[in-house]
């Protein structure tokens, strides 16, 4: 059992994380502070939350790339609803509306993919484009500010030692780990992604599972917006841009397969952490101003190395 785990994708990513942390920590011990760990976790929490849903979608053999734009729309709507200069609704009502909106968009994605049988990459690419436009229209080049304190407290508050966003992320991770590993629903999701035809023969409700996964991804995107947007005092146009790219990359780095059936919540979470580490690590390495211009290249190379290394080692293990 432990032997199998050590050979798994999760172990590989965890190893890379440890290696990065150890290396950067050796060069700059301040990297190893509790404070820094906390900040990295806070920054990673929206990714951790949405990756839960994205993992389900990818395990089902589909893909969702509309999350970033949806986040932008959710943030804009949230801002407009709660801020005093716009609607000024009570926080609970605004929260409810934002979450329903996010889940609703996810539901539409799901229905497009299942009922209308639009390939998921096209459906969500279309949704991404539409939502980007809607988000920009809502923001209209302005900023929206004035979040009530209760909302701010939710995003930057603590429960004991734990920051709220991290707490929410951990709760999501725990719930989805149990969902995928220990419930009939979870195993069915893997079954459908593994072999759609066999799933049909086994009478599994593939379409309903897909709609559910897309809806959950939407809903989680809403949750992620709620914990991250009010971290700042104002919301700018472009909030959440390219977030989908980050999440999909992280889930894939974490071992999910584009052809479905494979992937785990733990792997995806580790993928998010790994990718979240890189930017901070680069700052702590204090490479000087010139190195700044190579940061994106280093990040890209890092992803490439992680993915290629795994594929090469996997190919050595399984022949053909």
């Amino acid at each position: 059992m432990t032997g199998a785990w050590l050979r798994s994708r999760e172990a590989g990513v965890a190893g890379l994380i440890l290696l990065t942390v150890a290396a950067v920590g050796t060069i700059n011990p301040r990297f190893l502070s509790v404070e820094n760990a906390r900040d990295i976790l806070i920054a990673a929490s929206p990714g951790l939350i949405v990756a839960c849903g994205a993992t389900l979608v990818i395990v089902l053999g589909e893909i969702d790339i509309s999350m970033g734009a949806l986040m932008g729309v959710c943030a804009a709507v949230l801002g407009k609803l709660v801020s005093a200069e716009h609607a000024g609704l009570p926080v609970w009502l605004a929260t409810l509306i934002v979450l329903s909106l996010a889940a609703g968009i996810g539901l539409i994605n799901g229905l497009l993919v299942t009922v209308a049988r639009v390939p998921s990459i096209i459906a969500t690419l279309g949704m991404l484009t539409i939502l980007t436009g809607v988000g920009d229209l809502l923001m209209a080049g302005e900023t929206i500010g004035g979040f009530p304190d209760s909302l701010r407290a939710f995003a930057i508050g603590h429960v004991g030692m734990l920051p709220m966003p991290v707490l929410v992320a951990l709760a999501c991770l725990a719930a989805f780990t149990v969902l995928t590993r220990e419930t009939a629903l979870g195993r069915r999701i893997y079954a459908v992604g593994s072999n759609a035809h066999a799933a049909r023969l086994a009478g599994l409700p593939a379409l309903r599972l897909k709609v559910l996964a897309f809806t959950l991804t939407g809903l989680l995107t809403g949750v992620a917006t709620l914990i991250s947007a009010p971290q700042l005092e104002v919301i700018e146009a472009g909030f959440g841009r390219q977030f989908e790219l980050f999440v999909v990359t992280a889930v894939v780095v974490g071992g999910a397969s584009m052809s479905g059936g494979a992937g785990s919540i733990a792997g995806s979470a580790l993928g998010v952490l790994l990718l979240s580490l890189v930017r901070t690590a680069l700052i702590f390495l204090q490479l000087g101003i010139g190195a700044t211009y190579w940061e994106r290249a280093i990040q890209g190379g890092f992803i490439l190395a992680a993915v290629l290394a795994d594929h090469v080692s996997r190919r050595r293990r399984v022949q053909r």
Partner: protein, 501 residues
């Protein structure tokens, strides 16, 4: 009477896959269902399983009418099905595979792992297997996977167990365990509906036999006293020329020489020579490594050691294109995944292997391609409306003819046929045999891999037998008998129990 179909029919557009079939199945009997490719056997089973919706008619089980087109209703009524195609979930482990879709649960949603484990062990033990938990099914052997699928079907407390060609990938040992399990079930009053192209199995197992032809019910009668010829006549509706031995033409020069070819763990130290005009049969149990040898000779896999020579010249290892250029052709076992591009047309598939050589100046010559396609369709007697229909729409036998014709168009010097007639009905089979013989007579060097001993015996000039990755012996056509081949093929210690015939 356990189950009764009344006037059951199914049409796909204009294709009438099943026409007014009324059959009854009795509790405790093994009821065999036979027919040519495309006769409607799988369709009949899919209707019982609720996978497809009938166009007409009804099914009643235990006197109650079954809700049509619902997998869950069929399951609830006690019908368990093992489908023809693999229905395994490769990413899940054996335990999940056994129970997905009807998991034992606690509090409505959480899996009851201990119960699954206990139940899974019990089910697999009944088939002589042990439960391998935690390993994805992809890591198990084909036979182990099939046994998991069978155990899954048995896990339902069923009244009718349906098996659609369950033994296609099982070796003798597993077949024995399966037949024993079937007999236990029938003794307990469960009915078994059994589909197979292996007529020997039918005669050994079945109590009654139902024959379908072109979607229609031909007859149902008791199996006792029937002969293989009776079954064939009933399936095909005419006499089939049983394959007599063609006269072995004088073998020519050595075309293909394989020297100490090894690829661990699949096969070791394989050496043989194949001459022009010769047909060698390669026999062995499933998993003996024959397909792997073929793939290595063809350059699809890279061997660890050894060499392959065509006309005395060594082929670079692991290079399909070099092998093809030297005149080697392989009709693979898995025609759906390796042999054909199913969504493409018959014509395109037929010219795929000769595309480059038909082109002039890097531009395709459509007329030349059409001519080649037409020639092969005629030579192989491929039944298709036109070369422009997708191969996918053809019946299995005709697909196989396309897979062979595609290589004949390339005028190979060495032809390797891996299970050329698996899943092919008697009529189409006879045509393929005739073709292989005439090609050999024309000087083609042919290697035929087959699990069907009749086929190997009937076709080959010489027979090689493989056991556990090694060549365990060679038999000339005069010396070869089923018993001697089996003796060479069987693992030394394995029990011979339950092997058919």
């Amino acid at each position: 009477m356990l189950l009764e179909t009344r006037d059951l029919g199914k049409s796909y557009g204009t294709v009438r896959a099943l026409i007014g079939v009324s059959v009854s199945i009795l509790a405790g009997e093994v009821h065999a269902l036979i027919g040519e490719n495309g006769a409607g056997k799988s369709t009949f089973i899919n209707l019982l399983a609720g996978v497809v919706h009938p166009s007409s008619g009804s099914i009643s089980i235990g006197g109650e009418v079954l809700e049509p087109g619902s997998v869950r209703a069929s399951e609830a009524a006690g019908i368990a099905v093992i489908h023809q195609e693999s229905t395994a979930f490769q990413h899940l482990d054996a335990l999940d595979n056994l129970f997905v879709g009807r998991e034992p649960r606690r509090w409505g949603c959480v899996l009851d792992r201990p119960r699954m484990r206990a139940e899974g062990r019990r089910l697999l033990a009944g088939l002589g297997e042990t439960l391998q938990e935690g390993r994805p099914l992809a890591e198990l052997s084909v036979a182990q996977r099939q046994m998991v699928a069978i155990a899954r079907a048995l896990s339902v407390r069923c009244r009718l167990l349906v098996l659609d060609e369950p033994t296609a990938s099982l070796s003798a040992r597993e077949c024995g365990a399966l037949f024993a399990a079937i007999r236990r079930l029938t003794a307990a009053g469960v009915a078994v509906l059994y589909v197979s192209h292996r007529l020997e199995e039918i005669l050994a197992l079945a109590d009654r036999v139902t024959v379908l032809r072109d979607g229609s019910h031909v007859e149902t009668r008791a199996a006792a006293g029937l002969s293989k010829d009776d079954l064939i006549r009933s399936m095909v509706g005419r006499e089939v020329q049983e394959h007599g031995h063609g006269a072995p033409s004088a073998p020519g020069a050595v075309r293909l020489a394989v020297r100490s070819l090894s690829r661990s763990p699949c096969f070791h130290e394989i050496s043989f020579e194949l001459r022009a005009g010769e047909i060698i049969g390669l026999a062995g149990l499933v998993g003996a490594g024959r397909s792997e040898v073929a793939a290595a000779v063809f350059g699809a896999d890279r061997p660890d050691a050894g060499s392959v020579l065509v006309d005395g010249r060594a082929l670079p290892p692991g290079d399909v294109r070099a092998a093809i250029a030297a005149g080697v052709a392989l009709v693979p076992e898995d025609r759906q995944h390796l042999g054909l591009v199913l969504p493409m047309t018959v014509g395109e598939n037929l010219v795929l292997a000769v595309l480059a050589s038909l082109a002039r100046g890097g531009v395709r010559r459509m007329s030349a391609e059409a001519a080649v396609a037409a020639e092969q369709m005629k030579a192989m007697a491929i039944k298709a409306d036109s070369p422009a229909v997708p191969v996918r729409t053809l019946s299995g036998g005709n697909q196989q003819k396309v897979a062979i014709g595609k290589w004949l168009a390339a005028h190979p010097r060495v032809l390797i046929l891996d299970e050329p007639t698996r899943g092919i009905d008697v009529g189409a089979r006879a045509e393929i045999y005739r073709l292989i013989r005439s090609l050999a007579a024309g000087g083609l060097a042919t290697l035929v891999i087959s699990s069907d001993l009749q086929e190997v015996l009937g076709l080959s000039h010489r027979i090689l037998v493989m056991r556990e990755g090694r060549i365990s012996g060679e038999l000339s056509r005069q010396d070869a008998t089923q018993e001697r081949i089996l003796a060479l093929a069987m693992p030394q210690e394995a029990a011979v129990a339950g092997v058919s015939p």
